[in-house]
């Protein structure tokens, strides 16, 4: 009877309808708002993309060729998957997306090895870390020491091997670096980058397949493919180092995925999409070349990615700013993650909750939440005062920019980590305490593992915000144009948003249309990748609860 107001009529038919007019209006309003938002974003993206690609400069025949060889087959396949084989569709999109994402990641790894830690330095670091680990193990074997002694030994070993005492004891790392002969760069990488990855791959495959042999093959294939680059690299026109990074960062995940799909036997036809796309691109290139169709004059091309800023718009590129952004994000992550997560753990798990102290803690928490809303210019000022005026650091260097932006996202990291920790059900803590766990054991074995996906998601989203911040960089004197990529964390740098800002101010329309648009696209793609990672992470772990 709950659905009818009028008890006289029938409870069904026209008499029995409950008015839903208000509900329908509300629904339409919400839909309108959604569509408006999507439409505005879409228009903006199209506008930027048109500026960056300039489709009008191409022969219509060129577009026709692209459509016929790449677009039509792809759309046809997508329609087929949608209609007949959704599982294959999933495989298809992963098989296309994975190589693209992995290639971008490989670019990042390449930048790291080129500008941040040279292969030799990496070699020295890895060897020193191995020695440190070995020393700790040996110490553990020899005597079963208490936690305090272990920590002390660990600290000493780390200092001796990696840090050294400035002016007194050189570290093992610097000793290795000063050796007269070191293996050539690609060989160092093969030993200290590819081999660990291969070990991890072998271990993973062995566990998944429960087969020793499969693990050995996977690991061996990884090393073999990378080593092959000594010969194959020059033939393909890339350096051995590039080849090596590509095979480990792109080849390994793609190979594992394809192998899993093939052996699983489910949705195998999905692999047709990437194959069709690749074949389409090749055919298209051949046709365009032989028929002499001119393509569009795109701004976002390889030169744009690898060049520095230049007075001629066509020559201008974003590379140093890209490197600067990557280095800055490393500083931001290293600074904001431990501090933010540490603060969140303290506030949630340790801070007093009752009495005067409890009220104080509550006040602090409210203020942290407020800090998340403070305009970024203010953080720029704070960075200027703190690091440059008080700390005496040089304006415009990577570490200053990174720390300033880290301050900016710190409240966001804290608040999101707090939320993730709070989402761990109290019954879990009770279970741990009830088993006689100490607070530290509870936090370490129960709370953190469960909160970690949420913490990581929040942190990645915050880093996404960090990579786009411009105002604080202006305040701490980040240069408008930097033509050489920074080589250390204390070098001058420019970041992508800062570079975009200076392009927007140049007088030539080519800059504030084409170059700027290409830069915006690059920034957006990087952002999309980061947010995509965060979302994947969240979805993967959400399903488990």
């Amino acid at each position: 009877m709950a659905t009818t107001d009028d008890s006289a009529g029938a409870w069904f038919g026209s008499d029995g309808q409950v008015s839903q007019l208000r509900g329908l209006l509300f629904k339409a309003g919400c839909l309108g708002a959604t569509l408006l938002a999507l439409f505005l974003v879409f228009v903006f993206l199209v506008y930027v993309a048109v500026d960056a690609i300039e489709p009008g400069t191409a022969d219509p025949a060129w577009w026709a060729t692209v459509a016929a060889t790449v677009a039509v087959p792809a759309v046809a396949l997508a329609a087929y998957y949608y209609r007949y084989d959704p599982r294959a569709g999933e495989v298809a999109y992963t098989a296309v997306g994975l190589p693209i994402a992995a290639t971008l990641l490989a670019g990042g790894v390449g930048i790291v090895f080129r500008h941040i830690v040279s292969p030799h330095e990496w070699l020295a670091l890895v060897v020193a870390a191995l020695v440190a680990y070995g020393a700790l193990e040996v110490h553990d074997r020899v005597r079963r020491a208490g936690a305090f002694e272990r920590a002390a030994i660990g600290a000493i070993v780390l200092v001796v091997t990696i840090v050294g005492l400035p002016g007194l004891v050189p570290s093992l790392r610097s000793l290795i670096l000063s050796l007269p002969v070191l293996p050539m760069a690609p060989l160092s990488l093969l030993g200290t980058f590819v081999v660990p990855v291969a070990l991890a791959v072998g271990w993973y495959v062995r566990r998944e397949r429960e087969s020793e042999r499969a693990g050995l093959i996977a690991g061996g294939a990884t090393v073999a493919a990378a080593a092959l680059g000594a010969v194959a690299g020059p033939v393909a026109g890339v350096s051995w180092t590039t080849w090596l990074i590509l095979t480990t960062v792109v080849g390994v995940p793609v190979g594992l995925y394809v192998e899993r799909v093939l052996s699983g036997g489910e949705g195998v036809s999905g692999l047709a999409l990437p194959v069709a796309l690749a074949a389409g691109v090749v055919v298209c290139a051949v046709v365009v070349e032989t028929a002499g169709f001119t393509g569009p004059d795109v701004w976002l091309d390889w030169e744009f990615l690898t060049n520095a800023h230049n007075r001629t718009p066509r020559e201008a590129g974003i590379y140093p700013a890209l490197v600067g952004s990557v280095m800055m994000i490393i500083v931001v992550a290293l600074a904001a993650f431990p501090v933010g997560v540490g603060a969140a753990i303290y506030l949630e798990e340790y801070a007093p909750t009752g009495g005067l102290l409890g009220s104080f803690v509550e006040l602090v928490e409210i203020n942290i939440a407020n800090l998340a809303g403070v305009p970024s210019v203010v953080y720029g000022l704070l960075g200027l005062a703190l690091f440059i005026n008080a700390g005496g650091l040089q304006p415009g260097i990577v570490i200053v920019g990174g720390l300033t932006v880290a301050l900016l996202i710190l409240p966001i990291v804290i608040v999101s980590a707090q939320e993730a920790i709070r989402a761990v059900p109290d019954s879990q803590r009770q279970a741990a305490y009830g088993m006689g766990a100490t607070r530290w054991q509870t936090v370490r074995t129960v709370v953190l593992p469960r909160a970690m996906p949420g913490i990581l998601t929040g942190t990645i989203l915050a880093l996404g915000r960090a990579i786009g911040e411009t105002a604080p960089l202006l305040m701490v004197g980040v240069a408008a144009v930097v033509r050489i990529s920074p080589t250390s964390f204390f070098g001058l740098f420019s970041a992508m948003p800062r570079q975009l800002y200076s392009w927007a101010q140049l007088a030539k329309p080519d800059f504030y249309h084409g170059v700027l648009a290409a830069g915006v696209l690059v920034l957006l793609i990087v952002l999309l990748m980061m947010n995509g990672t965060a979302i994947l992470l969240r979805n993967k772990y959400q399903r488990r609860d």
Partner: protein, 303 residues
């Protein structure tokens, strides 16, 4: 049960003082079949496995517990003997879980909770300053009212206590034995690596029991450990409890009178208001309680 009933019972209670024996024999007249069977069940108990002079291991003296201004326990006096099963029964919300939590200081984790009075474990007031609640909880294990396994593998769940308490010798063997005693091993033997959350509610409850007994505590507090179990699993758990009681002290909260009658040596009846109304040998409580309110409660007239 309504507010009125409670008051009536309270009224009766005051009149009781002179002739409790007579008052007790009457109320069964109006009772239905269930209460008859209850009394039957209680008759089957092979009375008093606990020697009368058993040592007291947990002793409460005038124990009050408050949640902010609400008093959940009022002046509880109880002496729980060593090596035996003590059942706590009473209507919902009368403070059974609260009492259980105050034994191993789990109330410390609730900000609002405040404890007054003495609670002695092996003669030592557990609320003294020099008592480490973590050490206390390692001696007094607990099974919670709602199953709360960790999102870890079944094996890791059971091994958790061993790990945090640093009882590292022969973890494998201990885990298997704990699962076996909790009547779960058979069902999960070949999926020890799968998540504890993938088990059914009743299996989770037994997993939590296995987890609690694995590190071998002296006292086991169980808050309705069989509430989600079928009769077979329940009887296995009851066997386990009887088995445990030979070496350990078990304190168990249950809403199932037959269960209390079957497995416990001593029974404590809490009634609304957080009062411990009667505490005695189980047969005495079920056959011949001192208080009319208790009689009413266990015969199902009230609560």
């Amino acid at each position: 049960m309504t507010q009125n009933d409670t008051r009536n019972v309270d009224g009766d209670d005051e009149q009781r003082t002179d002739g409790s024996e007579t008052a007790v024999s009457e109320p069964t007249t109006g009772s239905d079949a269930t209460s008859d069977s209850l009394l039957d069940a209680s008759l089957d108990v092979e009375g008093g496995t606990v020697p009368a002079d058993a040592d007291t291991v947990i002793e409460a003296r005038d124990l009050d517990v408050f949640y902010d201004d609400v008093q959940a326990l009022e002046g509880v006096d109880i002496e729980i003997p060593e090596n035996g099963v003590t059942a706590l029964i009473g209507p919902s919300g009368c403070g059974k879980s609260t009492f259980l939590r105050s034994i191993n200081r789990m109330n410390d984790l609730i900000d609002a909770a405040r404890v007054d009075g003495d609670l002695r474990f092996e003669g030592k007031n557990v609320y003294d300053d020099d008592v480490d609640p973590v050490a206390l909880r390692r001696k007094i294990g607990m099974v919670f009212q709602t199953p709360n396994p960790f999102p870890k593998s079944i094996y890791d769940n059971v091994a958790f206590g061993l790990e945090v308490q640093d009882k590292a010798d022969d973890v494998d063997e201990t885990v298997h034995r704990a699962l076996e005693r909790a009547a779960l091993l058979e069902e999960v033997e070949d999926q020890l690596d799968s998540s504890g959350l993938d088990l059914s509610g009743g299996q989770q409850q037994r997993l939590c029991i296995a987890r609690a007994i694995a590190p071998d505590p002296d006292v086991l507090l169980m808050d309705e450990p069989a509430s989600a179990l079928d009769p077979i699993a329940t009887s296995k758990i009851e066997d386990l409890i009887e088995d445990l009681a030979e070496e350990y002290t078990v304190v168990i909260v249950t809403h199932n009178m037959q269960q209390a009658a079957r497995i416990s040596d001593k029974t404590a009846v809490f009634l609304t208001g957080g009062e411990l109304v009667e505490f005695d040998d189980t047969d005495k409580i079920f056959e011949n309680p001192e208080h009319e309110r208790v009689e009413d409660y266990i015969t199902g007239k009230f609560g």
